[in-house]
């Protein structure tokens, strides 16, 4: 059976599909969050040099990964929206930005809380920390620019350009610890190496990463639904929904 994927690029059918999917993602996210926190705080062993303080890794690393990953996804959809003038892709990009900014903020904040006891400082201007801070400003810049332009189609276009320009920052964040001397240590987990972590620690961290994914999908779908309603409020199908009271 061939599925007509383009059907879901129409805001109306996406709206109802997303509405059905949100509870599933919320449910899975809660289960994974509980499991991840349990493994992280009760099952994973104490670290040989950082003691218990390393456990902030179960929040810090998933947040940092999500901050970069969501930016790429946001730029991708913003770029598609710019190239093909598809309304829904731009709405998705707009919906991703606040979640991405939140994860960037969490990564920076937990990093500071971790840096003080371990390194001896809340903050240093090394390449990794600085480029992650720039990522935060990119998210904020994207959101403020979109908020400053009244016409949503023009706001989408302007935002897309910031988002696409900012993509160069992502490999800089990722490789900063390899390219330059930084205070931040290198990657413990990467594609071409065995992870430099005990396996229960790694398991806990990966469960938290999947929990963050599920959470992000749920929140982004919810936010996209709201944006759709806002922007399509003049259409017949939204009026219909309103009449039925199904919003």
């Amino acid at each position: 059976m061939a599925i007509n994927w383009f059907k879901y690029s129409s805001p109306a059918s996406f709206y109802s599909l997303a509405g059905k999917m949100i509870p599933i993602f919320v449910f899975v996210a809660l289960i994974l969050l509980a499991a991840g926190l349990y493994v992280g705080f009760f099952v994973a062993p104490t670290d040989f040099q950082q003691g218990e303080a390393y456990r902030i890794i179960f929040i810090h690393v998933p947040a940092a990964w999500m901050s970069m990953f969501l930016y790429v996804v946001m730029a991708f959809w913003a770029g598609i929206g710019l190239a093909f003038n598809t309304r829904l892709s731009s709405m998705l990009a707009t919906a991703i930005a606040p979640t991405g900014a939140m994860f960037t903020f969490i990564a920076l904040w937990t990093g500071a809380l971790w840096g003080k006891p371990m390194w001896g400082t809340w903050w240093v201007w090394d390449a990794r920390l600085t480029s992650e801070l720039i990522l935060f400003f990119l998210y904020i810049g994207f959101m403020s620019l979109q908020a400053a332009i009244d016409d949503p189609r023009r706001a989408d276009k302007a935002g897309a350009i910031i988002a696409l320009v900012g993509v160069v920052n992502i490999p800089i964040i990722y490789f900063s610890v390899q390219w330059w001397n930084t205070l931040h240590q290198g990657a413990s987990v990467s594609v071409n190496q065995a992870p430099a972590m005990a396996s229960t620690m790694l398991t806990g961290m990966l469960i938290m990463v999947f929990a963050s994914w599920m959470y992000s999908i749920a929140v982004i779908l919810k936010r996209t639904r709201i944006i759709i309603l806002e922007r399509e409020s003049h259409t017949a199908w939204v009026a219909e929904l309103q009449k039925k009271g199904a919003m």
Partner: protein, 149 residues
């Protein structure tokens, strides 16, 4: 070519051009993006001697000496090739240990001693339970012993 395909290729070309530009800029700034200099770089006079800068490396095993009446600590930073003596007065971070990573900010004095006014610990990316670390150390010692034989 359809107009939207043209638009897409312009976007892709734009992002690619921007990527190349940033690679060139980052290459040009290479030396300014360095957070610290290694003892070898300092010995080769690559570091801004005379100004405040950071050195990074390992705290040489057996080099840490504390003064009894103050918080002044003397230790040596090494990258296994070159070693620099460091003097620091203040509180050291918890992870400051012999044989572990350290980054110190300060100035180098005329007699070649690094006068640090900030010392930060740089830990590595390995996470494991203490028993595993001990087992690794034992294995390392055993290997060294068998090599020495």
């Amino acid at each position: 070519m359809k107009p939207r395909h043209k638009k897409l290729s312009i976007i892709i070309a734009g992002v690619a051009a921007l990527g190349v530009a940033s690679v060139l800029v980052l290459n040009a700034f290479q030396s300014n993006l360095v957070f610290f200099f290694s003892p070898s770089q300092v010995a080769a006079k690559e570091a801004p001697i005379g100004k405040s800068f950071r050195i990074g490396g390992l705290v040489e095993a057996g080099s840490v000496k504390r003064e009894d009446s103050s918080t002044t600590v003397r230790f040596a930073v090494t990258d296994t090739a070159k070693t620099i003596p460091v003097v620091y007065t203040g509180i050291l971070p918890d992870l400051f240990r012999e044989g572990k990573g350290v980054v110190a900010q300060g100035k180098i004095s005329a007699d070649g001693i690094f006068m640090a006014d900030e010392v930060l610990a740089k830990h590595d990316e390995n996470y494991m339970p203490p028993e595993a670390a001990e087992a690794l150390e034992q294995a390392g010692k055993a290997q060294k012993a068998s090599l020495a034989r």
